[in-house]
């Protein structure tokens, strides 16, 4: 059973994606999606425990040994991120079912669930693969599903945004493919475990050209400034749950790929100045963009871009503490960003507008929604004792411990960005949730007509999913101790990948 465990997170959703095409009844399709995702969460958790106790878990697909065949590897980092991502995907699916995005029309019901499960398949494969070409395939599987989801039942605006998103992603995919070709031509292998040693033998110029191409390819996918333009343009047009899953997962898979490839293929010592500068620019541009936005979803998309900078912060430091901080930040951000987008979805659903200046004039979306907004918003800004504080503290400690000017510059920018995030969140708070309707005061307590009243069950499910996400965010803060220890061990693995290499190439100890 443990031998096939690394394959299950990929196989389960892939098989589950095919079943709804049989045109089963709606409850069966929904139940299937939820069951499959719960299964993936279970597999991820099991893999995390096994990888933490016994080292990386490997599976040779088709029985071919490593340099020839594809190997799936689950080490601490990939298992941890897989579990958290699958959990978020599950909550978002519940929200989508509650909101009825999935079944607006009969045609979209047949498409939504398979596309969603294919997205999860690609995500799991990207986390687990030990092969550069297979990483490209995983990205393609994931992105192809996302192209379908973002343009599903689209109106004019969504089609326009979907077109931008699709073309930008496709261009980056083709560049990724060129990178794979160039790497293969230069080294004769695409197995990540083998590439590190082979790339080290190449001339310096060629090596840094490949590293830069890889950085820009994954930079587009992870929305690093100046390659972020597509993100705030396209994400907000999609329905709330789809935006939430994109924001929480797609960019983080890019960050994961960046972490994995840069540490395994291009190890270095000391601060990586280029990435440090990019991280600073990303934080500043993202958060300043968020300050001027009027559309709630757009504002959150810009904060997402800004906070990608925090994840680059740790990678730029390139030591154990920095990488620990990055891993904690990714885990925290996946959960919190999903929760924020879901709350934004609830607020938009209740007030029927996403524009902050209009939202102020509508009845308040209800005390529960407001509470659910406050928790992740404070967490995102890094106010103690929430998860954002823990992750930011780890990053700042890493910067101070390193003590170079670049590290201090990063730490200063991070603090400034946190403050500005708090300001942006306060703006949303006062405009959207605290603004009182001037002439309809009595309409406040009860839900607005025709919105909450029509589908009480669906709304309850949406609320439950959002509350689950907010509670997970709090749980991340509560479990910060064990999480930080796992993160530290995962960071050690990243910097000293001997165990990873032997597990992939020699079969390692099982």
């Amino acid at each position: 059973m443990t031998a096939v465990l690394p394959a299950l997170p990929v196989l389960l959703p892939a098989l589950g994606a095919g079943v709804p095409l049989l045109r089963l009844s709606r409850p069966v399709t929904r139940g299937l999606g939820v069951g499959v995702l719960a299964g993936v969460v279970g597999c991820g958790a099991a893999l995390l425990v096994l990888a933490d106790r016994h080292g990386p878990q490997t599976l040779r697909v088709g029985g071919w040994p490593a340099p020839l065949g594809i190997t799936l590897v689950a080490d601490r980092l990939s298992a941890l991120l897989l579990t958290v991502s699958a959990l978020v995907a599950l909550a978002v699916l519940l929200f989508a079912v509650g909101q009825g995005v999935a079944e607006e029309r009969r045609s979209s019901a047949v498409v939504f669930h398979p596309a969603y499960l294919v997205l999860v398949t690609g995500m799991s494969l990207a986390f687990l693969t030990g092969d550069l070409f297979n990483l490209f395939v995983a990205f393609e599987v994931m992105l192809a599903a996302s192209y379908v989801l973002i343009t599903l039942d689209g109106d004019e605006n969504r089609t326009r945004a979907g077109m931008t998103y699709t073309i930008v992603s496709l261009t980056s995919s083709l560049l990724f493919l060129s990178l794979v070709a160039l790497v293969y031509a230069a080294t004769g292998t695409v197995t990540l475990a083998q590439l590190g040693a082979r790339l080290a033998e190449l001339p310096d110029g060629l090596r840094s050209a490949l590293a830069l191409l890889l950085l820009s390819v994954l930079g587009i996918k992870a929305a690093i400034v100046p390659l972020h333009f597509w993100l705030p343009d396209s994400y907000p047009t999609a329905p709330a749950p789809i935006t939430a899953v994109f924001a929480a997962l797609l960019t983080k898979v890019g960050v994961y790929a960046l972490l994995r490839t840069q540490t395994l293929l291009f190890p270095r010592t000391g601060v990586w100045i280029l990435l440090a500068c990019t991280a600073i620019i990303t934080m500043i541009v993202g958060i300043l963009g968020a300050l001027v936005q009027d559309d709630l979803n757009r504002l959150l998309s810009f904060t997402l871009v800004g906070h990608i900078g925090f994840m680059l912060f740790g990678l730029a430091l390139f030591d154990t503490r920095g990488l620990t901080g990055t891993i904690l930040y990714v885990v925290h951000h996946i959960v919190v960003q999903a929760a924020l987008f879901l709350v934004a979805g609830l607020a938009v659903f209740r007030t029927e507008t996403a524009a902050l200046h209009r939202m102020a004039g509508r009845p308040r979306p209800g005390p529960l929604v407001v509470t659910l907004f406050v928790l992740p918003a404070l967490s995102l800004s890094g106010v103690p004792p929430f998860s954002g504080f823990v992750a930011k503290l780890a990053l700042l400690e890493a910067a101070v411990a390193q003590g170079t000017p670049a590290a201090y510059a990063l730490a200063g920018t991070a603090l400034l960005t946190s403050l500005l995030t708090l300001y942006a969140m306060t703006r949303v708070w006062t405009a959207a949730f605290m603004g009182r309707p001037p002439d309809r005061r009595e309409a406040g307590p009860e839900s607005p007509p025709g919105v909450g009243g029509d589908r009480p069950r669906g709304t309850r499910l949406m609320l439950a999913a959002t509350a689950g996400m907010a509670a997970t965010g709090v749980a991340v803060a509560v479990c910060a101790g064990p999480l930080a220890r796992i993160g530290e061990r995962a960071a050690e693995d990243l910097l000293h990948p001997r165990e990873y290499r032997s597990a992939v190439l020699e079969g390692g100890e099982r």
């Binding site: 689209g154 931008t164 073309i167 496709l170 493919l177 070709a181 293969y184 004769g188």
Partner: protein
């Protein structure tokens, strides 16, 4: 490390250049064509990554020296990549068609919100100028 002959380098470089040029146009059809050319360029690049041409893909009898045969891995990767680019091209065509059906033309349009934020200052200046011209009570215009 594999080397590449000049003809292939020129062909691939040309495909990339033309592909990127077309992708920078405003017409959706040209963007789709650009993507197709770029895809061809990338697939060719994958193929030449396998080494010099002319070696047999399937040798007669036992393989004593694998260096004498063609490398099968880049070919497998190119096949996968061709399938992926083919499928995505079809999707892109469908999307461009839908965009054309909805808008009646195939231009990439500006984003409304971007345009709004980009012109906030101009609009404010134009507004205050208009106030001064009409002799408004509040010159400088608190808007």
């Amino acid at each position: 490390m594999n080397t590449i002959d000049v003809t292939m380098a020129l062909v691939i470089g040309g495909l990339f250049a033309v592909g990127f040029f077309l992708m920078l146009q405003r017409s959706l059809m040209r963007i789709v064509l650009g993507f197709i050319l770029l895809g061809h360029g990338t697939n060719l690049l994958l193929l030449v990554a396998g080494g010099t041409p002319g070696r047999p893909p399937v040798p007669d009898g036992r393989i004593d020296d694998p260096a004498g045969t063609a490398d099968p891995l880049p070919q497998a990767m190119a096949l996968t990549a061709i399938v992926i680019t083919f499928g995505l091209t079809a999707f892109l065509m469908a999307l461009a068609y839908r965009s054309w059906r909805m808008t009646g033309h195939d231009e990439v349009r500006d984003d409304v919100e971007d345009r709004r934020i980009g012109t906030v200052r101009e609009r404010a200046e134009a507004g205050s100028a208009a106030d001064r011209e009409t002799g408004g009570t509040a010159p400088g215009g608190e808007r």
